[in-house]
Symmetry: C2
Subunit: 409 residues, 2 copies
């Protein structure tokens, strides 16, 4: 395993104070699934009446826990629910043994908490292709139950880390019908962040009362402009999971028209998504790619992703080089509509290219100075229509190679 | 510019002895377009009756010379033809000035050689977005004409290099109707090989007599399984160009049914394509990704490209790590059909995974030993159908970052 111990330079100063979300309690424990001397399993228990929505990796080789979650999500049951997550082993590409592991863990949780098995969701993150020692998780479920605590969400964020360099949390509150609703979430990972330690996992909790179909459609829609708009290395994990749970404990009923709630949920999702990029392998810059003027939103997204995933663009950013020729290249190869002569490019407020060529007032010195910043905005206007997109990425540095070219051990 | 002076460890021992192709003569010169102390312009003159076929980058921001070539290819004229290529400046994203530069150069060549301007093809490779000093090329056209020599193809290969670490050439001969036909070609580049020095350029010559439409359809078809099956970093240049010229000097007439000729042309194209990968930025391994059993050839190609372009797969190869979990990940994310439980993976002859899990006889030690080789084969069988594809790539090493994160200067 790569020995990356220093915290990302892009990490927030401290883990945030997350509010208690009534109706959900957390516990963490060191079960020794793979790691020693640290917590590696977290359990979240959701009170009766809670609803759970989720989105998952679209990988054709997705892991056993993901397949299990997908089969359960959206089934209505008022009994409450639970989420159990382990780090150290992803239980992906583990054949029938993998399915048996998921059953053992979710059945164990259901028994300990008195829930139907269909209300227990699990995730696993860590090495691919090794049988998971699920018995080590099952053995500590009683202790986990006894430790459940409404204030323990921060420890839960730490228990699900693999090679993350910092725990990720975010929260907000919003007034709905004169009452305050709280939202808090945790996340881990950064794409396929480490040798076999892939996986982005996100768990968000709110005390609003949200019917499951409403919550599911909100999460699916918001996912498009938050987690689906980040990329570290274009590699999609077999295990990516986002679960959002609403306990209803605030007594505030949310409908599909609750714009304020949806916007609050979006803020938490976007903050967690950006924290994942801030912990990208070897990242030294957080970069927003903003595309406007595309023929459609879909085209804008294609251009933005093409720029954000280009190894040449990402290495130029690592080198603090305002190399706009590579932006032109990435726009050209994206497959979406572009016209050389209507294309314009900015680094921050510095206009670099327009009218098919470098801008007349372009100052390479000013652009080079801009690139030394830690948070950068690259703006591309296609000059073709009203399509827009924003995508967040990081640079590609020697740190990425250090982490990923190391032999697993 | 990155100071990469050592030759790729994957380079052939020496530049091959290329046969004279009757009907084509070459000249090279140091015009000082950008580089000093080396040749940077090459001219190829094709005798009357020659035919020229070509395929080009599909980038939406392609360069002025590419647009010019595309407008000329396939127009029939028996007057002969010429190809002029400069290194140091790609004349890409240079607005109207770029178009004027192409006109000046191709018009100049036409005048010196007594050809219609529509028979003069040009390519440029080097920095993007800087006006090209085409007058420096025009000034030496007379000298180039005087230097034309049937045996000078090797010098031509050197004149078109940018940051290539070795010149690339390949040839073969084939018996058709009891007579020998010769094919020889040169190439440069490796995707977007260097800061702003992108571009793969390939020129192949034969003394066979091939009607232009036949040559074009052969080249288009063969391109799919040769140059379109290599990738260094997934970044598509604005200037990629492949031109194939047939002089007819051997007197051997080729039709669309000349399988032997087509196979010989394929060998030369594939050899040059693989030489381009051997010169990939920072490459230490040449890797063949062979996919079988896919639902279709198109699906097989998608899987192969997804594996070949995955930064995580490529860094694992650089680290000599038989990290098959990343192959599973890349298959899963490709978007093509896959079934975890019918997937099988080999490193060379070593079966790694099958039936949804690691192979029972898999030896990590044997696989790790295999990965130490310089030329590797990764074979994936989807177990779904008859679709196959082969793609060639290289590893992603610190050398790539060294080359590409360096500030241009």
């Amino acid at each position: 395993m790569a020995k990356i111990t220093s915290v990302s330079p892009l990490a927030p100063a401290a883990f945030p104070d997350l509010p208690v979300i009534e109706g959900v309690r957390f516990a963490s424990i060191a079960a020794g699934v793979r790691y020693q001397g640290r917590t590696d399993v977290m359990l979240a228990h959701l009170a009766p009446g809670s609803t759970v929505a989720g989105v998952f990796t679209r990988s054709a080789t997705r892991s056993a826990p993901v397949l299990d979650c997908q089969s359960k999500i959206g089934r209505s049951d008022d009994a409450g629910a639970a989420i159990i997550v382990n780090s150290g082993n992803s239980n992906a590409f583990t054949g029938r043994h993998g399915t048996a592991s998921v059953r053992a863990v979710t059945r164990g949780v259901a028994k300990v908490l008195g829930l139907p098995e269909t209300c227990v969701f699990s995730s696993s993150t860590g090495v691919i292709g090794e049988p998971m020692k699920h018995e080590r998780i099952v053995a500590v479920l009683g202790q986990l139950k006894d430790a459940l605590d409404a204030g323990a969400i921060g420890d839960a964020a730490r228990a699900i880390m693999t090679t993350d360099t910092f725990p990720k949390g975010s929260s907000t509150e919003v007034e709905v019908d004169g009452k305050t609703v709280h939202i808090a979430g945790i996340a881990k990972g950064s794409g396929m962040i480490e040798p076999d330690m892939g996986t982005m996992l996100v768990y968000i909790f709110t005390d609003a009362a949200v019917p499951q179909p409403v919550l599911q459609s909100m999460v699916t829609a918001l996912n498009r402009t938050t987690f689906n708009c980040i990329t570290v290395d274009s590699d999609t994990s077999t295990s990516d999971t986002l679960l959002v749970a609403a306990t209803g404990a605030s007594g505030v009923a949310i409908t599909e028209h609750s714009i304020g709630f949806m916007e609050a949920l979006r803020r938490v999702m976007l903050d967690l998504a950006q924290q994942v990029v801030r912990d990208g392998e070897g990242a030294t810059k957080l970069v927003e790619i903003s595309v406007t003027g595309a023929a459609s939103d879909a085209d804008a997204h294609k251009h933005a992703k093409s720029i954000a995933n280009s190894p040449l663009v990402k290495t130029a950013i690592a080198g603090e080089d305002p190399n706009w020729g590579r932006i032109v290249m990435a726009v050209g190869k994206s497959g979406a509509r572009a016209d050389r002569d209507t294309l314009a490019i900015w680094f921050g407020d510095i206009k670099v290219a327009e009218g098919g060529w470098v801008s007349p007032d372009y100052s390479e010195d000013a652009a080079a100075a801009y690139m030394k910043g830690q948070e950068l905005i690259i703006h591309v206007d296609l000059g073709l229509g009203g399509g827009t997109a924003r995508v967040w990425t990081c640079d590609l540095s020697h740190g990425y190679i250090d982490i990923n070219a190391d032999y697993r051990s």
